[in-house]
Amino acid sequence: MTAGVLVRGVSQRYGQAMALDDVSLEIAAGEYVVLLGPSGCGKTTLLNLIGGFAEPAAGAVLIGGRDMAGVAPKDRPTTTVFQDYALFPHMTLAENVGFGLRMRGAGKAERAARADEMLALVGLAGRGDRRPHELSGGQRQRVALARALAVSPDVLLLDEPLGALDLKLRRAMQDELKAIQRKVGTTFVHVTHDQEEAMAIADRIVVMQAGRIADMGPPREVYLRPKSLFSAGFMGEVNRIEVAGGRSALGPMAVADGVLCIRPEAISAGGALRLGRCVVRDMAFFGAYLRAHVVPEAAPGMVLVVHLPQGAEVAAGDVLDLGADAHVVL
C-alpha cells in the first residue's frame, strides 16, 4: 500500500542538455514529497523516471527496495495523476476509476464498489455514471486522483496536478490532497513550480535547479535556512547584501563572508542585526502587511524590500531605523 523510493545517482540527458545530473534522493514510505523548481529544472524528468516512462541513462531507481530497471509503467507499483488529467472521454467516471482494476482482472462488482468508494473519497459520491466532459476542471482532477488511487499504488506520482486550476481552486485542492494523502497513507511525489503550493502540502520539499537538487528539507527549513542562493530566491522574496571581511555596503556587518540573505518580513525596527537608517521610497498595502521599498542612507544605490506591520503609519520619504530578526549567509 505504501513504499519508499530510492533514487541513486541518476543522470538523464536529452540531446546536449543534461536533464538530470547525478541526482540521489531518498523518499520514505508514506512521505509527501514535493519536487519544486522552474520549468526545465528536471523535476518532471525525475518523476517520469520513477513512473517508468523513461529509463535513466545512469543510476538506479528502487521502489520498496526493488530495482525498477527495465520495469514498464504498467508493472510498477506506481500510478500517475497527469497535468491534463488524461481521463478516458468515452467512459463514465466509474469506468474511468475502475479501469486499473479491470486491467488487473477484477470482476464487475468489485470494480463498481471500488469506484464508488474512491469517488466518495474525492467528494464525487454518486456521480459515477457521468462522463468526463460534464465535469469542471477541478472535478476532473479529482476523478484523475480517484482513478490513480483505485489500484492502491505504493507510490502516487502527481505531475503539476493543480497547474490548470484557478488560484482559489488550487488552494482548496491543496488542502484536500494533503488530507487524502493522510487518509490513504500512500507515498506521494508531487511536481510543481508553485512554492506556496509546495509549502502548503509537503512534508519535505526538494528544490531542483538545472538537473540537480539545490536544497531539500521540510518547508520551514527550506524557507528559513536555505542551503543555496537559488533555493533562497525560489522559495520567496529575499534581500541580498554582499559581505566581505566583515564589511558591506551598509557598513560593518558582524556576519561571515558571503551573501547575506534577509526575507522582507524579517526586517523590523527592533531587529538585532542593524541595517541602519533607511528612507522609504514607496509603499503599497497588501492586506496582511505593508510592502515597502526602502533605500539605506549608507548605500543610496541599494533598494531593500521590507514587509511592515499592517497598522504601521509610514509614508514615502519617512526615515526608519531598521534591523533584521533572522538572516542566513550563503
Binding site: F53, P73, D84, L87, P89, H90, F99, M103, V151
Partner: protein
C-alpha cells in the same frame, strides 16, 4: 444577381444529377429500351433483376469483398497510424509517404501490378485477389483518416492507460480504438463505398466469381436494357444509403 446565382446552382446540380436521374427514371420503363419515349411505369425490370441468380450472386460477392477488404484496410491503417503517430523514427516521414503513395497511382496500374504479382506467384484469381486489390487502394485512405484524428489527448490517455496497468493490446482495444470510434467508422464506410463501386481492379483480378460492377459491365455488352438501369439504381441506392448513414451517424455526432 441573386436570381443568377440560384440559376447557377440549379444548372450545376442539374449537370451532376441529370445522368443519375435519367438512369433511375428509365429503370421504370415499361418498354424494352431505356431510351425516350417513356412508355409507362413498370417494376418488371426490378423483378427480373432481383430474380437473376448471377446478378444476386455478384451483389453478394460485392458486399463480401467490400466489408472484408474494408475491415482489413481499416485494421492495417489504424495500426500503422497509431504507431507512426506515437513513435518518432528517423524514417517516419518516408514511411508515411510510402503508405499514402498508392493514392497517387491509378487503379489500372495497381491492378496490372497485382495481376503480374499474382500470376508469377501462381495465385489463382478469385474474390480474394480483388479483396487484396481493394485493401491496397483503401489502406492509404484509412491510414490518412486515422493518422489525422490522433492528437495529444489520445496520446496522454494511452499513457494513462499504460500507467494503470494496461498491456499494449488492451490500450488499443479499450482506449485508442473507442476514442477514435467516429473517424474509424468514417474510414470504414468510405472504404466500403469505394470498394462497392470499384470496377477496374475487380474486372482484372476476377475470373469466375465476379463483383457487381463487373457483372453490370457484361450485361452492358449484350446491349442496352432497362434491367441495367435497375441494377445501376440499386447500386446507387446502396452507395447513397452508406453516405447518408455516415453523415448521420458519424459526422453529426462528432460535432
Amino acid at each position: 444577381m441573386r436570381a443568377l446565382s440560384w440559376l447557377y446552382m440549379a444548372v450545376a446540380y442539374l449537370f451532376i444529377f441529370l445522368p443519375v436521374a435519367v438512369l433511375v427514371a428509365f429503370s421504370f420503363q415499361a418498354g424494352r429500351l431505356p431510351v425516350p419515349p417513356f412508355q409507362g411505369f413498370s417494376l418488371r425490370w426490378y423483378e427480373k433483376v432481383l430474380g437473376d441468380r448471377d446478378l444476386m450472386a455478384a451483389l453478394g460477392h460485392s458486399f463480401l469483398v467490400a466489408v472484408v477488404s474494408s475491415a482489413l484496410a481499416l485494421c492495417l491503417g489504424f495500426l500503422a497510424a497509431h504507431a507512426l503517430a506515437r513513435v518518432r523514427l528517423p524514417g517516419s516521414v518516408l514511411m508515411r509517404g510510402l503508405l499514402i503513395a498508392p493514392m497517387t497511382v491509378s487503379y489500372l496500374i495497381i491492378a496490372l501490378g497485382l495481376l503480374t504479382v499474382f500470376g508469377s506467384l501462381g495465385i489463382r484469381l478469385s474474390l480474394w485477389t480483388v479483396g487484396a486489390g481493394h485493401v491496397v487502394i483503401n489502406l492509404p485512405l484509412c491510414f490518412a483518416i486515422c493518422y489525422a484524428a490522433m492528437g495529444d489527448q489520445q496520446r496522454s490517455a494511452e499513457r494513462a492507460a499504460r500507467d494503470l496497468g494496461a498491456a499494449e493490446w488492451q490500450v488499443l482495444a479499450y482506449v485508442s480504438a473507442p476514442m477514435l470510434a467516429a473517424p474509424l467508422a468514417a474510414a470504414f464506410f468510405l472504404s466500403v463505398t469505394f470498394s462497392w463501386d470499384e470496377f477496374i481492379i475487380a474486372f482484372l483480378l476476377t475470373r469466375f466469381d465476379v463483383t457487381l460492377p463487373v457483372e453490370i459491365w457484361s450485361m452492358l455488352r449484350s446491349g442496352l436494357s432497362p434491367a441495367t438501369n435497375a441494377v445501376g439504381s440499386l447500386v446507387f441506392l446502396v452507395s447513397v444509403t452508406l453516405v447518408v448513414a455516415l453523415e448521420m451517424l458519424v459526422f453529426r455526432r462528432a460535432k
